[in-house]
């Protein structure tokens, strides 16, 4: 343990309004901490830049799931376990629940939150591609009020987001209109449990006759942010499946991503396997 607890301040006001007031008073000074499964790892390694933290853990305003026919609102403080245990989320957004089941371990799923995963903005995060294909919206809240933003616009660079200094994510809004889609996601990790993704593809597809009517693709660990593969989608939409189409789609995907060699894997491997996953999805779509 490489940090000195006496050098850190952690406040837990217990109410969202109090947290927002604090962030408004001293923007950029207080780092929100939810379940701690990311920040406490940095802290243990002596690499947590913030010295003042404010706890979001257990705030009732953030840890709830509401659903109407129009929208499912997942509080940002919901843990992965909360997601997995929710019947509506499991039914309407299976890729999100699948991603939750892949994240860390049971112990980490009991503490890690969806909001935390989004704000941490690692391109390797398991749930982010699923949020992209489901076209999630984020509710960002501060003492100034709440605004909505399509999730796909949230990331601006490697671990950089449009979150203002006085803001937190309040909830994630999803529309339950994907049950008619074929849903696919696959994570390629270094092992079967507790693995940071080498790549992760989430996909939704619908065919009409023998053509692809609609397709949504998002991929993680292939760029500095998770990527919605719009160009690849454009290549695929309206087309019947063929080897030639698959080849074109691989090329389109290659142009949309920027994988690297890192401690876990290589760029070439990622690219090739991403294409394989896409192919696996399309073959399943047409099976």
């Amino acid at each position: 343990m490489r940090s000195r607890p006496s050098e850190y301040e952690l406040l837990a006001p217990g109410k969202l309004s109090a947290v927002l007031d604090l962030l408004a008073k001293e923007p950029g000074v207080w780092m929100p901490i939810a379940g701690g499964t990311e920040l406490m790892v940095q802290y243990g390694a002596g690499r947590l830049p913030a010295r003042k933290l404010v706890s979001l853990w257990g705030l009732p305003e953030l840890r709830h799931i509401e659903s109407t026919t129009q929208e499912v609102l997942i509080g940002a403080g919901c843990t992965y376990t909360d997601l997995r245990n929710n019947a509506v989320v499991a039914r309407e957004f299976p890729l999100l629940v699948q991603a939750a089941s892949w994240t860390g371990s049971i112990a980490n799923q009991n503490r890690g939150t969806l909001g935390g995963n989004i704000v941490n903005a690692s391109p390797a995060a398991d749930s982010l591609p699923a949020l992209m294909v489901y076209e999630a919206e984020l509710l960002l809240t501060s003492a100034r009020g709440t605004r909505r933003m399509p999730y796909v616009e949230f990331h601006t660079g490697y671990k950089q987001t449009k979150l203002a200094a006085d803001e937190i994510i309040r909830a994630i809004a999803l529309q339950p209109r994907f049950s008619g889609y074929h849903a696919y996601s696959r994570k390629v990790g270094t092992r079967n449990a507790q693995a940071i993704a080498k790549l992760c593809l989430a996909a939704l597809g619908k065919i009409s006759g023998d053509e692809i009517e609609d397709v949504r693709l998002a991929i993680g660990s292939m760029a500095v942010t998770p990527v919605r593969l719009r160009r690849t989608e454009q290549v695929l939409v309206g087309q019947p499946y063929s080897a030639a189409l698959m080849s074109e789609a691989r090329q389109a995907m290659e142009a949309e991503v920027a994988p690297i060699d890192d401690i876990r894997s290589s760029a070439l491997y990622r690219l090739h396997v991403a294409g394989n996953l896409l192919q696996e999805f399309l073959e399943g779509l047409f099976a």
């Binding site: 607890p5 671990k159 390629v188 401690i263 070439l268 491997y269």
Partner: protein, 758 residues
């Protein structure tokens, strides 16, 4: 022979304490006034230390600071060649080399203090591979970068080539592997003018620590006491390294006048302590027209890191095992352990044999393919049988059941049917399947005259509480030392398992039964426990207090009567070599080991060509081990070893940058989880070893040798590609299967900096 306690899965001796959280590991212990220590380490691989500056913002007066100048005796961690300094003095030879020690009452004050010690260096050129070391462009150790070399020869290799119908060559390599005991290294040292120096620690070999401290401090042997704390896994990783750690804590304790605890966190433990030696093996083999091995020329090289430590003995075992369980009429092994500017590599379960056996077993499959024989048939034609000589010209007098185990393995896996089935399946499926064999042996005990040299001493004493306790320096670290030694004593004397306990391992009371390594505890120490027990019985009979035919109650009563009369009842026995063990150290020939365990392992795999990852669908482990002393413990040893072997083959890659391990966290050094390990089917055969307790041979390291070659042989069959290097990652399989030219890799440092702690 029917046994009553031996052969039964009695409750683990220290089991309840472990299950209830009462067992006390080193970080659970505290002494009054104890302070905490930490180590400042080299950030470069090789060079001269120019200056050490103590940075701003730290209350340095609160710290105890120790450098090489504070070492009262010799600045060395004494082991074999005594070339490793305890603290760097002017020069460093590997990243993470200890330079300076700090201690402070607040454990949390240390990390920032360590970071605030600024060392500047003049770097020197450093080398980081066997190939670089061999080139001798830079000499970093001795005259030629070679810690040790062996030449092992049998027969006349040079004349055999002309009779060969085939000559087959191959080169095989294995990477470093981190032991990854779940409990990191830790120690507490206490020094006092009247109390002497006392060490508590997580360790395998208290007398190694003791010897090292005598050299370091110059203190008389009697004033140094080393006590083993409950140890949370070791696997060889706590064989020699604890001496370094104990030395550091002792220096801080002596300078500060306070007890000092040093516990490594995981990042430090992985980066700074020993790992399995990387290896490179080159085979050149002559095979006769009827598929018999005629001769081998084997070049076996290991990377020992910056200091010699145990490289000579690892090399020795790897050399002796290089020929495997086969009959070689002629064989020559040229073996060398090379120096590189890496933290010294050290003991890890198997100790050289997993390296040379991986190469051999891959090569056997390679030869079989080349000459058109099935892998099982080629092995069948060449397995050793009773009465034949090994690669060191040792006659195996006992029956060898390798043939039977091979047949059984083939049956249990449905091998031949599967080979056909997979061949057809692989034509069309994206999931390629294969099944592979690993046939091997593992010698138990120290090599050659090593056990005579160790001259292990074991004691048994009657306690005031009414039972007996075993006195050994053999340590428990999960493998079952405590349990099996008590079983053996109970069986020998007709007592109950619960009548026997283990004395704590403490150099002030424990006789030196040698280190807990080399799979020697059951076979060698267990035997001496038997001898000491029989000697105790004889003492009681000779004293007239016990009838020769007496049973348990009379025995225990006699013990108490003897104690009442004479004060204490103790019985000590030394190791007795089995007759006719002759080892020639110069020729590397003769009886290398008293006994070998023999094994055939089989792995069935699927290679998913969507992701290029390997799943093991079934694993069968058959071994002949003399006598199963405790079925659950023995099975547990095999399963645990197989799991480590799976990691060695498919997951556990050490990523190096300029001699430093950069994936030194559990998140990025990948060991198998509960979701990665296949069902492991374990079977035992017993061919009693005459000189082992109830026929038992050693088994601790055996299961490490077989999994990697069996798995890779299976992957080779599944893909048709000759993979000769481990660990074999999906990225490697991908590269080979798609045969794309490689783009130059981006700087790992940049990528790491970008990824942060993720």
């Amino acid at each position: 022979m029917q046994t009553r306690v031996v052969g039964v899965s009695v409750p683990r001796k220290e089991g309840p304490a472990k299950l209830t959280g009462q067992a006390r590991y080193i970080d659970d212990l505290s002494l009054p006034g104890m302070i905490f220590g930490a180590t400042v380490r080299s950030t470069i691989a090789r060079g001269a230390i120019e200056q050490i500056r103590f940075g701003e913002g730290i209350a340095w007066h609160e710290f105890t600071i120790v450098t090489a100048k504070d070492i009262p005796g010799r600045n060395v961690v004494s082991l074999i060649m005594d070339d490793q300094p305890c603290l760097a003095d002017g020069t460093v030879n590997h990243p993470e080399e200890p330079i300076l020690l700090l201690a402070h009452p607040d454990r949390h004050a240390l990390a920032s203090a360590v970071a605030a010690v600024n060392v500047t260096y003049t770097p020197a050129p450093s080398i980081h591979s066997i190939e670089e070391s061999e080139r001798r462009e830079h000499i970093i150790w001795g005259k030629d970068n070679i810690f040790k070399s062996y030449r092992m020869e049998k027969g006349d290799v040079d004349q055999a080539w002309k009779d060969a119908a085939w000559i087959v060559e191959g080169e095989y390599s294995t990477g470093a592997q981190e032991q990854l005991y779940i409990e990191p290294n830790g120690v507490i040292a206490q020094a006092g003018s009247t109390t002497g120096l006392t060490i508590w620690g997580s360790m395998q070999c208290p007398f190694y620590v003791h010897k090292a401290l005598v050299a370091l401090t110059g203190l008389p042997a009697e004033s140094i006491r080393v006590i083993q704390a409950e140890t949370g896994g070791a696997f060889g990783g706590k064989e020699e390294y604890p001496s370094m750690l104990a030395a550091h804590a002792s220096l801080l304790a002596m300078k500060s006048g306070r007890p000092v605890k040093i516990i490594y966190d995981r990042m430090e433990d992985m980066a700074a302590t020993t790992k399995r030696h990387p290896s490179r093996t080159r085979h050149r083999t002559a095979i006769s027209a009827d598929g018999k091995l005629l001769a081998a020329e084997i070049d076996f090289a290991t990377d020992g890191g910056a200091y010699a430590t145990l490289s000579s003995t690892v090399l020795s075992r790897g050399t002796i095992h290089a020929g495997g369980p086969y009959y070689w009429p002629n064989i020559r092994v040229n073996a060398k352990a090379y120096a590189t500017n890496t933290p010294p590599h050290g003991a890890f379960r198997g100790f050289g044999a997993p390296q040379s056996l991986f190469a051999l077993e891959r090569h056997m499959d390679h030869i079989a393919k080349t000459i058109g024989l099935a892998p099982d048939e080629f092995r069948r034609r060449n397995l050793l049988h009773q009465g034949m000589t090994t690669a060191t010209n040792q006659v195996i007098h006992e029956p060898i059941v390798m043939d039977q185990m091979l047949e059984r393995a083939l049956e249990l896996t449905g091998y031949h049917a599967k080979v056909k089935q997979f061949a057809a399946h692989n034509q069309t499926s994206t999931k390629k399947k294969g099944i592979g064999i690993g046939a091997f042996l593992h010698g138990a005990g120290f090599t050659g005259s090593g056990e005579r040299y160790l001259n292990a001493l074991v004691g048994l004493e009657a306690t005031a509480a009414g039972g007996l306790r075993v006195l050994v320096s053999s340590t428990e670290f999960g493998q079952g030392t405590n349990t099996i030694l008590c079983q053996i004593a109970a069986e020998t004397l007709g007592l109950e398992y619960d009548d026997i306990s283990m004395a704590p391992v403490d150099t002030s009371i424990s006789p030196n039964s040698g280190p807990t390594v080399a799979s020697r505890t059951a076979m060698i120490i267990g035997k001496i426990v038997q001898t000491a027990a029989l000697k105790m019985r004889q003492t009681l009979i000779d004293s007239g207090l016990l009838e020769p035919s007496a049973g348990r109650e009379q025995f225990l009563a006699a013990c108490q009567a003897y104690r009442k009369q004479f004060g204490e009842l103790q019985s000590f026995s030394h190791y007795e070599a089995a007759p006719n063990i002759f080892w020639n150290d110069e020729l590397y020939s003769g009886e290398a080991y008293g006994a070998y365990a023999w094994a055939v392992y089989m792995a069935e795999v699927t290679v998913d060509t969507t992701t290029y990852s390997v799943t093991i669908d079934d694993f069968v482990a058959l071994q002949e081990i003399g006598k199963v002393i405790h079925p659950v413990l023995a099975g547990g040893q095999i399963e645990g070893g197989v799991a480590q072997g799976i990691g060695y083959a498919l997951y556990e890659k050490v990523v190096w940058k300029d001699g430093r391990m950069i994936n030194n966290q559990m998140t990025n050094y990948i060991m198998p989880t509960a979701e990665d390990i296949p069902p492991i089917r374990v079977y035992f055969e017993e061919v009693p070893y005459q000189y082992g307790p109830y026929g038992a041979k050693g088994i601790g390291e055996l299961p490490m040798d077989g999994p990697a070659p069996a798995i890779i042989n299976a992957v080779v069959q599944a893909t048709g590609i000759e993979f000769n290097s481990i660990p074999l990652l999906p990225e490697d399989i991908f590269r080979a299967m798609t045969a794309e030219p490689e783009r130059p890799a981006e700087s790992l440092e940049t990528a790491l900096a970008a990824e942060g702690s993720q």
